[in-house]
């Protein structure tokens, strides 16, 4: 039997937790389950609406011969984007964390402003820069680095460039947050014990900010896999990703079950890195407790 105080505590917990939990269960969990369910529904021909009964038609049509190329492109762009963002975020986070507090907050402000700036505007800025009549195209053609007829827009490389541009602040923030808590005297200790600066960086600093690194990789990789806006505006047909196919099946072909099938696949693809990160972070727990005891 629970005491009166315990019952009251449970009541308070439910009162405060229920509204947000109910909202997100209704508008996040249930809709995600619907996506999986609709994958196995037939289409009413001509209208694109969802028919009655169950079918494996969509499931089989996901074997579409065009898909492997798009899946492959989605993967390589996402992995390259994550790698480039991490390679830039680690030195930047290291540098900012070692500054004096006042300079640190000034630099972080400069990193945060793009984070708040409209996503569409930042993409559009690149579209004007790379436009055939824009400044970069003009400069490169004048330097004879590109053919004046060449198109800088609408290919997979442009998609990658703009993805790094928009995702980089998301990678710097967690790396910086971890580096700020890192005890830099450990690097000096490693140097005193004879480690080269490079060795100290890789063997002491990187493991020390591991949690921030994992977060940075996760917050870049997962949204990259589902990119839609950047390939749609900057990619053209040779820069299409899975996200574009989902939107096409929904709005152009009006085939909701097919769009659901692709979304279900993407959901599963996104769960793999999330589960991986969770495992890595749980594995770290005992190790951390030991250092905290010491």
């Amino acid at each position: 039997m629970k005491t009166r105080a315990e019952r009251k505590k449970t009541l308070h917990e439910w009162l405060i937790t229920l509204p947000p939990v109910a909202w997100l269960t209704l508008l996040f969990v249930i809709p995600t389950l619907i996506v999986f369910a609709i994958t196995f529904k037939p289409v009413v021909p001509g209208t694109g609406d969802i028919g009655k009964g169950w079918t494996l038609t969509t499931f089989r049509s996901l074997g579409n011969p065009n898909y492997p190329a798009i899946v492959w492109r989605t993967l390589w762009i996402s992995v390259m984007n994550t790698t480039l963002c991490t390679l830039l975020a680690v030195p930047a986070g290291y540098f900012i964390a070692r500054l004096a507090p006042r300079a640190r907050s000034a630099y972080m402000m400069l990193v945060i402003i793009p984070f708040w700036t409209s996503f569409l505007i930042r993409i559009f800025a690149w579209k004007t820069l790379l436009h055939p009549e824009g400044p970069i195209h003009g400069a490169l053609a004048w330097l004879h680095l590109i053919d004046p007829q060449a198109l800088l827009l609408y290919n997979a490389w442009t998609v990658l460039l703009v993805m790094v541009y928009t995702h980089l602040p998301f990678a710097i923030l967690p790396v910086y947050a971890a580096a700020e808590k890192f005890d830099f005297r450990l690097l000096e200790a490693a140097r005193d014990l004879g480690a080269t600066p490079l060795r100290a960086f890789f063997a002491v600093f990187l493991p020390g900010i591991r949690r921030g690194l994992i977060t940075a990789i996760l917050v870049v990789l997962i949204p990259s896999l589902g990119s839609y806006v950047i390939p749609d505006l900057m990619g053209g047909p040779s820069g299409e990703m899975i996200g574009n196919k989902i939107a096409q099946r929904t709005f152009v072909d009006r085939n909701l079950p097919h769009a659901s099938g692709l979304s279900a696949l993407l959901t599963l693809a996104v769960l793999i890195p999330m589960a991986g990160a969770l495992l890595l972070q749980n594995k770290r727990q005992p190790e951390r407790m030991m250092t905290e005891d010491a």
């Binding site: 917990e13 909202w23 619907i34 290291y94 540098f95 579209k127």
Partner: protein
Amino acid sequence: MKHSRLPLNVTLFVLVFFYLPILVLVVNSFNAARFGSGWEGFTLMWYRKLLDQPNVWHALSNTLIIATGATLISMVLGTMSAFGLHRYTDALQKYHFFLIYTPLVIPEILMGMSLLLFFIALGMQLGLFTIFLAHVTFCISYVAMVVLGRLQDFDFSLVEAAQDLGATWWTTLWRVLLPLLMPGIISGGLLAFTLSIDDYVITFFVAGPGSSTLPLYIYSMIKHSKDMPIINALSTILLALTATTVFFSQHLTKETRT
């Protein structure tokens, strides 16, 4: 000891990379040249043309209505969520944490697609109301994370003092905890507001006829590459608004930290 100059150079490169495109865009919004390949004199022509665009005001008012509503509701729900997550640690809170954390990382297109199917399954008319519901859904997590951060730094001896002096749970909540946390809740709300104003993908999936928002409007202009200097002008105005919001939000952060 001599430090490597690489981190400094990378940081400077990153900042130039961040700001150069935005700077070019702002300068070009005052440039008489159509494609910004050179400077052809100062003009406010693009701003005047922007004001003459027929649908821009309608899109702006839709955007503001949705953002205001979604911000208020997500501030309430997000704050409740942060309190629950901070105070209790049982199985319910594990599920609760999963619900708050997952929308922060999953691709927006998945949320847009699943909400579209949900609204269709319920037979709901797509429009401002469905956009509002969708925006609250992704804003809750951001507000909850910001408020949770503040709760972790919060001095709970103030709460204990109030309770020692005989205040009930409700009195403590309304008279001590909420007023002290208000700067955090407002800065969470400001984040929700900017995210809502800026959202394209989710809005695109759940919007109906006549419910165009500013991002939907800008997107179709970018997509068709028409009137690019007018988008420069519109972007410059939005950038100024964002900078003001960040300034206020940072100001709030500073006040609570000292």
